[in-house]
């Protein structure tokens, strides 16, 4: 079939010249053939998989090279730095970023915000690179990056790192030290996670931006000068918690879209770019299997670009390993991808069915990769092979496999930490966590078992409590005799004790080590997150369902929910096919819980009815319902029926039913438990006491000791005679009757998303009617908005009350579910917001500024929950749009502070 080869070559050549020109007609013309003849050859080539048809008329063709997408290695920086999304989502950001950078003499400062992993630092670097390459920015211009989170546990040192330290400023400052500001003088200082700067640091930064002066830590006067362009980066919700004065100094505040919001084409460019980086590292071409490419393109990547990158790195390492074992080239296959990298049902519009990556050959290695000369995983593998040259094949294979596994676990750990556990520092000193993390790695290597993040947390907490106790010089009380664990756990505990002695100067007695060993024993039961009930979120709209599912999975720290978006334009057939796919993918499922916006069309219901698993359909889905459902399916004793009943109770108009009446008689009790009944347990007791709201002061909390071997205690049963135990919280899972056990980390991580919070609320005895209100009916939720509509109409000047109410109506449900306030509280908050909005309108329309009463509370000094802020930001944004106004920067913080349940608001 020589003729066909001719056709193929011609087609490829034409495609090079102009990809849009390749039609049957143009090919025929070029080869001087009849159109029908050319067409026949082309069809043969399509059949043979060598070319493909593109959609549309006239049909255009494009060449395909085998079954893979090739990525060439790159060896030098080329002139064209592809700025992914430069013409799409990021155009504005880059333009402004360049403007900021190109006037170093009078710097404009830039604040980037975006979700974790959205690529803020990547963008900052790229803007700098573009400025150097295309805009004559002197390549010697310093570009200094620093992540404020690295020193978040030690604010003083953090400030010192940035501004420099004067000798003697604090113990250990034995010599003068330059700061990053000095290093970045005349150039750019990129401060990631800038919100971690303490306010003193923010003020110093403000002086630097404003007047170009600063001082080192420990110096009295501001007499150092520097001209520095500051690029700050922060996660979205926190932007408002920077000091106002500093916030105003940023000439541009730019939001980076998350990967979710990027176009498919941009995502494909990212994939390509990261592959090329890997290709560069290994010094050879990488081929990407088409299926693997599709998966990368379509999987739900909640950790954003950062995660996409590490997933690609994992896949490449796997592929490289296979190549070393006798492959002819490095091919990334679907099996190399982490398990969760697979397309999900939400990608209904599968628009890119026929697109394949072009061969990109000019992507430079990332700047970050150049900065440090660490051996890459590929170099490590090659070195390892050289070292083991003599070893037999099996051993070699084993060793290399281990190397890769270690690499993967590093990558995974890094991203997990980033996503979930940024705030350990609140409870545990950094040095302890550091030792624990290091030892966890050692233990994995030497003893061959994994210490998971929760265990690290529990161990850290325990050790912290032990140290605090020693420091406070409280006598160590009677310590119960406890049994030994399996030898490997005991050895692990010993390793940890040695490390704590060497690194933290902490000496543990023998029985303490025995105790630690118990904490190394995995308790899969308590932390088992695999659910046997599938939770499927579905909603009309491009991404309503998937974003709810994303947020819930993020909050739960586990991908327990799946989603099905139903874009209005998508044909039912397509949605149906995806639903079927979802069902097929959950073969282990004991049932499906389908949370939907409105009742599903008959076609979809039929699919469900014919499925093997039972299902329950719950309408009026909202975020809280999703999180609730996810949380419940992770608890083993729930049934499909049980969950669906409880979830339906979350729907508007139906109150969350108070718990069994038996509870009413006995006072409520929470037991906090640990092996000693003292340290961790009393820490937890204290913590919970602090977070209980005014209405829950009746709850009795007691620290209880748990026998490490029996994992039980008679004390609990004694307590049950007198009290009703509503929950057991602690580091050691304890199951007594139906009392729910809640692991300590869940309570400490975020009160609001903890089951404890719900339990306390739902067991609250019937509210005692306040004496002063007894002559009037208490307000019901259903009345609130009508009432305040009348009330606000009485007092506002400019506000369109019915507009205000109609916007609130759209959000009231999520607000209620999130904050769990009662109608009275809600009235107060909504009236307040109404008046605030009225003020803003007046200021805007009259140009006058109404001095508001002096604030009693310094909002910035409060630790405001990011979730609360986020929700208020959404509501405020909706009100801003409806009223064409702008709230003051701290409005969301103000509303958040006002919505707090406990006494955080106490005036200063």
């Amino acid at each position: 079939m020589e003729r066909a080869d001719d056709v193929l070559q011609t087609l490829e050549a034409m495609y090079e010249e102009d990809p849009e020109s390749v039609t049957a007609m143009s090919v025929a013309k070029r080869l001087q053939l009849e159109r029908s003849t050319a067409s026949r050859y082309l069809n043969e080539l399509v059949k043979a998989g060598k070319i493909e048809k593109k959609r549309g008329r006239p049909v255009k063709y494009r060449p395909l090279s085998e079954d893979t997408v090739h990525v060439e290695p790159v060896n030098a920086l080329t002139e064209n730095i592809p700025m992914i999304g430069a013409t799409e989502s990021l155009e504005e950001v880059i333009e402004k970023g360049l403007a900021a950078l190109l006037y170093p003499s009078s710097p404009l400062h830039l604040l980037l915000s975006g979700e974790t992993g959205a690529g803020k630092s990547f963008l900052a670097e790229t803007i700098y690179d573009i400025a150097v390459q295309h805009h004559n920015l002197d390549p010697k211009t310093p570009f200094v990056t620093f992540n404020c989170a690295d020193y978040a546990q030690n604010p003083e040192l953090l400030v010192g790192q940035i501004f420099g330290i004067k000798k003697g400023a604090f113990t250990g400052a034995t010599q003068d030290e330059f700061g990053l500001v000095a290093k970045a003088d005349g150039g750019v200082l990129f401060l990631d996670e800038i919100h971690r700067l303490p306010s003193s640091g923010q003020e110093m930064l403000f002086s630097l931006i404003d007047k170009g002066v600063y001082r080192r830590l420990g110096e009295a006067t501001l007499d150092r000068h520097a001209t520095v362009t500051i690029i700050g980066a922060t996660t979205e919700a926190i932007e408002r918690s920077l000091l106002d004065t500093l916030l105003r100094r940023f000439s541009f505040k730019l939001r980076i879209p998350s990967l979710r919001e990027r176009t498919v084409d941009e995502r494909s460019e990212f994939i390509h770019y990261f592959l090329a980086q890997e290709s560069h590292k290994m010094g050879r071409q990488i081929a990407l299997d088409r299926e693997a490419y599709n998966r990368f393109l379509r999987y739900r990547c909640s950790g954003n670009i950062g995660q996409l990158k590490s997933d690609i790195q994992i896949a490449c390492a796997q592929a490289f390993l296979r190549f070393m074992n006798g492959g002819t080239q490095v091919i990334v296959k679907p099996a190399d991808l982490p398990d969760y990298v697979r397309p999900e049902a939400e990608d209904v519009p599968k628009v890119h069915e026929n697109t394949y990556l072009e061969i990109a050959s000019d992507v430079p290695n990332g700047k970050a990769g150049n900065a440090r000369k660490m051996p890459t995983i590929y170099e490590r593998l090659l070195t390892k092979r050289d070292q083991l040259g003599e070893a037999d094949a099996n051993e070699l294979d084993h060793e290399l496999r281990q190397e890769v596994n270690r690499y993967i676990s590093q990558l995974v750990q890094r991203s997990e930490e980033h996503l979930h556990l940024n705030n350990w520092g609140q409870y545990i000193d950094e040095d302890i966590t550091a030792t624990l993390r290091g030892e966890a790695d050692e233990i994995r290597k030497q003893e061959g078992f994994d210490v998971n993040l929760n265990q690290i947390f529990v161990l850290s907490l325990h050790i912290q409590a032990y140290r605090d106790r020693i420091l406070s010089e409280e006598p160590i009380r009677f310590f119960p005799e406890i049994g030994r664990t399996e030898a490997k756990y005991h050895r692990a505990a010993k390793m940890l004790a040695t490390a704590l002695r060497d690194k933290n100067n902490l000496l543990l007695p023998e029985e303490e080590i025995t105790l630690l060993a118990h904490l190394f024993v995995p308790h899969s039961e308590a932390f088992d997150r695999s659910a046997s009930i599938t939770v499927l979120i579905t909603s009309l709209g491009e991404c309503t369902a998937s974003s709810m599912s994303d947020v819930a999975n993020h909050l739960l720290g586990s991908p327990v929910t799946v989603s099905l978006d139903r874009p209005l334009a998508a044909p039912v057939e397509q949605t149906k096919a995806y639903l079927e796919k979802v069902i097929r993918k959950q073969p282990h499922s004991e049932g499906m819980l389908i949370l939907t916006d409105i009742d599903l069309p008959a076609e979809l219901k039929n699919v469900l009815t014919s499925a093997a698993q039972p299902y329950k359909l719950i309408p009026n889905v909202h975020l809280n319902m999703v999180t609730e459902a996810g949380r419940k399916v992770m608890t083993p004793h729930y049934t499909l029926e049980g969950i669906s009943e409880e979830l339906q109770a979350l729907n508007p108009g139906e109150h969350v039913a108070g718990n069994p009446s038996a509870l009413q008689n006995k006072p409520r009790f929470i037991a906090t438990v640990c092996f000693t009944g003292e340290r961790t347990a009393s820490f937890l007791k204290h913590w919970i006491e602090q977070s209980l709201s005014f209405d829950d002061q009746d709850v009795v909390i007691e620290a209880v000791q748990i026998d490490p071997v029996a994992r039980n205690t008679d004390r609990i049963y004694e307590i049950m005679e007198v009290y009703s135990i509503i929950a057991i919280v602690g580091t050691v899972p304890v199951h007594v009757g139906n009392v729910p056990f809640i692991p300590a980390w869940e309570v400490l991580r975020d009160e609001k998303s903890s089951r404890l919070y719900d339990i306390v609320l739902s067991t609250r005895p019937e509210a005692v009617t306040p004496a002063e209100a007894n002559s009037y009916e208490p307000v019901q939720f259903a009345e609130v908005l009508d009432l305040i509509m009348k009330g606000l109409s009485e007092i506002v000047e400019k506000l369109d009350v019915s507009l205000y109410i109609s916007v609130l109506k759209q959000h009231i449900h999520s607000l209620r579910q999130h904050f769990r306030w009662d109608p009275e509280r809600e009235i107060g908050i909504m009236m307040h917001l109404g008046m605030l909005t009225d003020r803003v309108l007046m200021e805007q329309q009259t140009g006058l500024v109404y001095t508001s009463e002096s604030r009693r509370i310094d909002i910035h000094s409060l630790a405001l929950p990011a979730g609360d802020l986020h929700l208020w930001n959404l509501v405020l944004a909706a009100l801003e749009e409806a009223n064409s106004i702008h709230y003051p920067n701290d409005a969301a913080a103000e509303m958040t502070a006002l919505s707090q349940p406990a006494t955080v608001l106490e005036s200063t």
Binding site: P770, E772, L787, G791, H832, S852, I857, L898
Partner: protein
């Protein structure tokens, strides 16, 4: 009931209490009662509690009630939550009734 009654309505940052105080003031004027309605934040109440005869707390700061009650007890004045319905409706008359009930 010949003496002047000084009532203070407390909210967190003065956004709504001044409106409600005004409503109460109007109601009192209409009924010819010698009532002066003030608005204030919970912070300053600590210092000025004893200058009032009665204090009402708005619903959005209910969580501060315990603390405020202590302040009021020290100043020996009654303190209560504003009736929620009356507050929502900005019903000055009803709140005035509540005030009169409390100082009885």
């Amino acid at each position: 009931m010949s003496e002047q009654i000084n009532v203070v309505i407390l909210c967190s940052w003065g956004a709504t209490s001044s409106s409600l105080a005004q409503k109460v003031q109007e109601a009192a004027k209409e009924r010819g009662l010698d009532v002066v309605a003030h608005a204030g934040g919970t912070g300053e109440f600590k210092e000025k509690a004893s200058t009032y005869d009665v204090a009402l707390l708005e619903p959005q700061v209910r969580h501060l009630k315990k603390e405020m009650q202590k302040v009021a007890d020290n100043a020996e004045i009654p303190l209560a939550m504003v009736d929620q319905r009356a507050f929502a409706l900005m019903d000055g008359n009803k709140v005035l009734d509540q005030v009169l009930e409390l100082v009885k």
